[in-house]
């Protein structure tokens, strides 16, 4: 508390940058559950390169065993000497497996995997910050990184060594190994996830027997992320690997892969943190469609089903993805989805958030999309017309209005007669809609009366629906700290020059007059 500066004392609202700065100092975490007794002091072994070749193998094993000792990095003063010895040894080991040939004999495999497992497989520590926002907050870094990094490096060199034999290694790098490796993708430390990504990729490439298992476990991780926890730090990395895996799928696609697309990748779009992995996700989806264009219709329908309702940021991402899909769409597929798709697009161009409207209107700058629209103008124009016409008169944002005029002009040039017809029937259409609305109200009124008259059957619980909005959750909610508590102070007149007015953020906002 003593660290609070004077300025903070005045305004009472800790600025985010300041909180961040305070946190950054200790943003390290580690969770090696210390059941083992305190580390024994290490004594340096002779260098591998100095040892006679007959003893090298034995020394290599000894060094691997030495590196199984774990140290507490949260305590930066203990075991300094031993930590340094281990670091140097790891460095030497990395060097040894990457430059020497013939060092990977069968007997070393168990030692190597034991060393790796002991060092990297651990339960990740609880997040320092329970509502960690990867976009805003600094990640907690792995405290034992000076060692862990070298172990990852070693694992990678081991896998990439020309003498590496998957047939021997598969006894150790098995399903359990992979499962633990995948759990580590939840690490908050981006450096660690980056290593894991490369390593998993190598394993996927070299161990054919593990491929199906890896895909299935990634499936499970995603499903848990979507439907259970909404929390997993490594989604983007896993998607990146999948992107290249999908690229290698043989045609025709197996049912398993199609199911993965429809039941995992599409629902992933509902995640609150979509922004963190949307690029990778969209890449995977487009990869699928390039493989098998017949998937276009279900994919677009899926996206429409999960279309964000309140989060404009996500809506912009969805529009971006739709454009990527339209870039590769086949004209026959386009015909199948044009109606529902353009109904959504027509809602988007009418969106009061100008970024959404703008993103949707940019479709009309895309030559290929334009050609598809032109080909199907008799279907597209009637859907789009109402929104565009209304927006051209009503939208608050002049840029949007200008864009809409251009779009209207383009559409008019595509089919002038249809455009004129729609213009002249616009009013009548609106009125018909209104009338339908009234009829509906009447119908329900009658039904409600009926219900009143037979109240014997009071069975209905039409209230209190918790809603499934978590699907389309957004970050729009205001920060309570800054919420205006003084709504009553509806006016601030010229007289107020009180110095504390300017610092009290919650009072200076409502300038009604």
């Amino acid at each position: 508390m003593s660290a609070i500066s004077a300025s903070e004392k005045v305004d009472g609202f800790t600025r985010k940058s300041m909180r961040k700065a305070q946190k950054q100092r200790k943003s390290q975490g580690s969770s090696q559950y210390r059941t083992q007794s305190a580390p024994v002091e290490l004594s340096p072994l002779p260098q591998l390169k100095d040892a006679p070749s007959t003893e090298q193998q034995e020394l290599f094993t000894q060094k691997l065993q030495q590196c199984c000792m774990l140290f507490d990095f949260m305590d930066s003063v203990t075991d300094l000497k031993s930590k340094e010895i281990k670091r140097a040894t790891l460095n030497e080991l990395v060097d040894y497996v990457s430059t020497n040939r013939g060092v990977l004999v069968e007997t070393t495999y168990p030692e190597i995997t034991t060393m790796i497992c002991t060092n990297i497989f651990r339960t990740l520590p609880p997040s320092d910050n329970p509502d960690f926002d990867p976009e805003e907050d600094e990640p907690t870094l792995e405290a034992s990184w000076p060692h862990v990094q070298l172990v990852y490096e070693f694992l990678l060199r081991f896998l990439e060594n020309p003498d590496f034999q998957p047939s021997i290694a598969k006894r150790h790098i098995d399903q359990k190994f992979v499962l633990q490796l995948l759990e580590l993708f939840d690490s908050e430390d981006p450096r660690e996830r980056d290593f894991l990504k490369t390593i998993l990729h190598r394993i996927y490439g070299k161990f054919l027997g593990l491929r199906a298992f890896i895909r299935k476990q990634i499936n499970n991780i995603f499903l848990r992320f979507i439907y259970e926890t909404e929390h997993f730090n490594g989604v983007a990395e896993l998607l990146e690997i999948l992107g290249s895996i999908i690229n290698g799928f043989a045609l025709p696609l197996k049912a398993e892969h199609k199911q993965f697309l429809m039941k995992v990748l599409i629902p992933l779009h509902t995640a609150k943190a979509l922004a963190l992995f949307h690029a990778q996700l969209a890449y995977c989806v487009v990869q699928f469609l390039e493989k098998d264009p017949t998937l276009t219709e279900p994919v677009i329908r899926g996206l429409l089903k999960f279309w964000p309702k309140t989060c404009s940021q996500k809506e912009v991402m969805f529009l971006g993805e739709i454009e990527e899909i339209l870039d590769v769409i086949e004209p026959t597929q386009f015909k199948k989805i044009q109606e529902p798709l353009f109904k959504q697009i027509s809602k988007c161009v009418a969106n009061p958030h100008f970024q959404v409207a703008e993103r949707a209107l940019y479709f009309w700058n895309n030559e290929y999309i334009l050609s598809l629209i032109e080909e199907n103008i008799d279907k597209v124009l009637p859907i789009m017309f109402g929104s565009l016409y209304r927006i051209s008169k009503e939208h608050w944002n002049p840029t949007i209005v200008a864009l809409v005029y251009n779009v209207l002009k383009t559409l008019m040039e595509m089919n002038c007669t249809l455009f004129d017809e729609l213009t002249s029937s616009y009013k009548a259409d609106r009125q018909r809609e209104k009338k339908k609305e009234q009829e509906r109200d009447e119908l329900w009124k009658k039904l409600d009366e009926l219900r009143l008259s037979s109240s014997a059957l009071v069975q209905n619980n039409s209230h209190g629906l918790p809603g499934v909005q978590n699907n389309n959750n957004n970050n729009n909610s205001n920060n309570n700290d800054t919420q205006d508590k003084s709504a009553e102070a509806a006016a601030v007149t010229s007289e107020n020059k009180d110095p504390d007015d300017s610092v009290a953020a919650n009072e200076s906002s409502p300038c009604a007059k």
């Binding site: 848990r224 439907y227 014997a456 069975q459 499934v468 102070a489 919650n506």
Partner: protein, 589 residues
């Protein structure tokens, strides 16, 4: 149901179904929410033959709509013709129980559980149980997860052959290769154990429990801890040691902090379930370990349970166990490096004083309280202060007041307004325990300082606090100590402070009574009606409306009325509005 027969032509199903198909999700949602009305209009027969098949066929919609549907169908028994026909509801609910979205699926399961009770035993075996089996052997994980929640509702009411099948299905799901399903099964294990015959609990459930508790995924293992509570409750004491304790010991030392956290979180329940002997021998050392865990999350969860754990210790050895085993750990936690741990402890530590009695409290606990009152983290101090009443009963608050005051003052001036807000809320309680003299001497200034805080929420809370203090100490005290200061602020150059005067008057007038209000407060309010700032003026109007009922009627006519009339002609439209409102509410027109 009278309307049902005659009005068929009026409400053809086509129209209603059209509504359910409307393009606009919101309208579809509205119609689904009124599904019972539609069913009513159709009558039971057509609901069964036309509406339900339609609903079953068209289950591809937005999750929001499906959720509403799943909920509605749980209340549909009467609308399909009572329990004789309730099984008609199973097909749509079965499809809903396979949907991906968890919220929808859970609601479908909830509705299925509800209507299972309305099935006759025969229908349960003919219709319901086959559905459970179908779900349990579904291809996609969603249906299997849903099945987990349905076993326990039908098990007690079916024949022994069917029971055996159900047990078999549950066993299979507990070793499903999808972790989502194993999690669902683990979370229902306790519930299922409760409806099983004791022999089967011992033979079936224990082995499943042991297997789930050593699952490769910690998210499954931690759910087994929850089940442990129910299972231990069901078993006779002599079997606990062999059947449950090995697994529980293992969980308390699990390598994943999440599992250990769960053990800590469920510790009181576990303690009750295993009984005093095992508690003494096993749980006390386990609890000590959790209090010393390397992960702060676990320590915090355990610290939260300190009081409950101590309370539930067997009486004969309670004091000895606390003093020799628990208290040393607690002492260490007081200076823990993690503030969540300290604040968790601070929220329960005061409760120990009632258990340990006066002498022990003074000798052993008081130093800890005092240390926590000086903690650097405001939340810790707040938690101590908010639980002062426990200590007050045992040793009296005087023991603490020396250290209390600096702690309160520091919190009162904390840079975070939420902290200030929290301490304000304890003021009336503190004032009651410390007495009026101590209050006037030490705390009164603080209460007045909050009135000019720069955060509105604090000023508002301070106003409310004054009201509560006046209710405690009486009108006379108010007249001497508070009212003059409040009224003095009416001349403050800052219009926000002038408005605070008005807000205080609003809050205090009733507690202070007619005399003080009319003689002291009213003149100030009336004077402020000529304030330069429009906000102040319309708050004058609002205040007059608020305090009007407390003022005697002659003053209302002679003094208030002319002022309000003048304000009603103000140039500012808000002032006009509130003045007119006050006039009409006080019936002065």
């Amino acid at each position: 149901m009278a309307g049902a027969d005659g009005d068929d032509s009026l409400y053809p199903i086509a129209v209603l179904i059209d509504e359910l198909r409307n393009e606009d999700v919101q309208l579809r949602l509205n119609s689904i929410k009124k599904l019972s009305t539609i069913a009513l209009a159709l009558g039971v027969e057509r609901t069964r033959t036309e509406l339900l098949p339609f609903l079953t066929d068209t289950i591809y919609d937005e999750d929001e709509v499906l959720l509403a549907l799943a909920e509605q169908l749980g209340n549909f028994t009467m609308l399909v013709g009572g329990s004789e026909y309730v099984h008609c509801l199973l097909p749509p609910l079965e499809s809903l129980a396979t949907v991906e979205e968890t919220v929808v699926r859970d609601k479908a399961v909830e509705s299925l559980r509800k209507i299972s009770q309305e099935h006759s035993p025969v229908d349960l075996e003919v219709h319901f149980e086959p559905l459970v089996k179908r779900l349990a052997s579904g291809d996609w994980f969603t249906s299997r997860t849903s099945a987990c929640g349905l076993f326990s509702v039908c098990y007690p009411r079916v024949s022994s052959t069917v029971k055996a099948e159900i047990r078999q299905h549950f066993r299979t799901l507990c070793s499903d290769d999808t972790p989502m399903v194993r999690r669902a099964a683990a979370s229902k294990l306790g519930e299922f154990a409760k409806v099983l015959e004791l022999d089967y609990v011992k033979s079936d459930i224990i082995s499943l429990f042991t297997a789930l508790a050593s699952d490769e995924q910690d998210s499954v293992r931690l759910l087994a801890v929850e089940a442990c509570v129910s299972i231990a409750t069901l078993l006779p004491q002599e079997d606990l040691e062999t059947l449950v304790m090995p697994t529980l010991r293992q969980a308390a030392e699990d390598k994943s902090w999440r599992v250990r956290y769960m053990v800590a979180d469920k510790f009181s329940e576990l303690q009750k379930a295993v009984g005093p002997e095992i508690t003494k021998n096993d749980l006390v050392p386990a609890f000590q370990n959790l209090l010393k865990d390397c992960e702060a999350e676990v320590r915090a969860a355990a610290a939260n349970k300190v009081k409950e754990f101590c309370e539930n210790l067997p009486e004969d050895s309670r004091e000895q166990i606390i003093m020799t085993h628990i208290l040393p750990c607690v002492k260490e936690l007081v200076s823990d490096t993690n503030q969540h741990v300290k604040s968790a402890l601070a929220s329960v530590i005061m409760g120990l004083s009632t258990i340990l009695g006066k002498d022990n409290t003074i000798e052993h606990l008081l130093p800890l309280f005092l240390a926590q009152l000086k903690d650097e983290c405001p939340e810790v101090r707040l938690n101590i202060i908010s639980n002062l009443d426990c200590v007050n009963e045992v040793i009296g608050i005087r023991q603490l007041s020396q250290s209390l005051l600096p702690a309160i003052v520091e919190l009162a001036e904390d840079a975070k307004w939420r902290v200030r807000l929290a301490i304000i809320e304890y003021m009336p309680l503190l004032a009651g325990q410390l007495g009026v003299e101590f209050f006037d001497e030490k705390l009164n200034t603080l209460c007045m300082a909050w009135l000019i805080d720069h955060v509105y929420a604090i000023r508002e809370a301070a106003t409310c606090n004054l009201m509560k203090l006046v209710e405690k100490f009486g009108a006379e005290w108010a007249q001497n100590t508070i009212v003059p200061k409040v009224l003095g602020m009416a001349n403050d150059p800052n219009y926000l402070h002038r408005m605070t005067t008005l807000f205080c008057i609003n809050a205090l007038s009733e507690a202070c009574g007619q005399d003080i209000t009319t003689k002291q407060m009213l003149p100030v309010v009336l004077k402020m009606s000529t304030d330069q700032v429009a906000n102040v003026r319309f708050n004058v109007a609002k205040s007059l409306q608020k305090i009007g009922p407390v003022i005697d009627s002659s003053a209302l006519q002679t003094e208030v009325k002319p002022v309000l009339e003048k304000l009603a002609t103000d140039t500012d439209m808000d002032v006009k509005y509130f003045a007119q409102e006050a006039i009409s509410v006080l019936v002065l027109a």
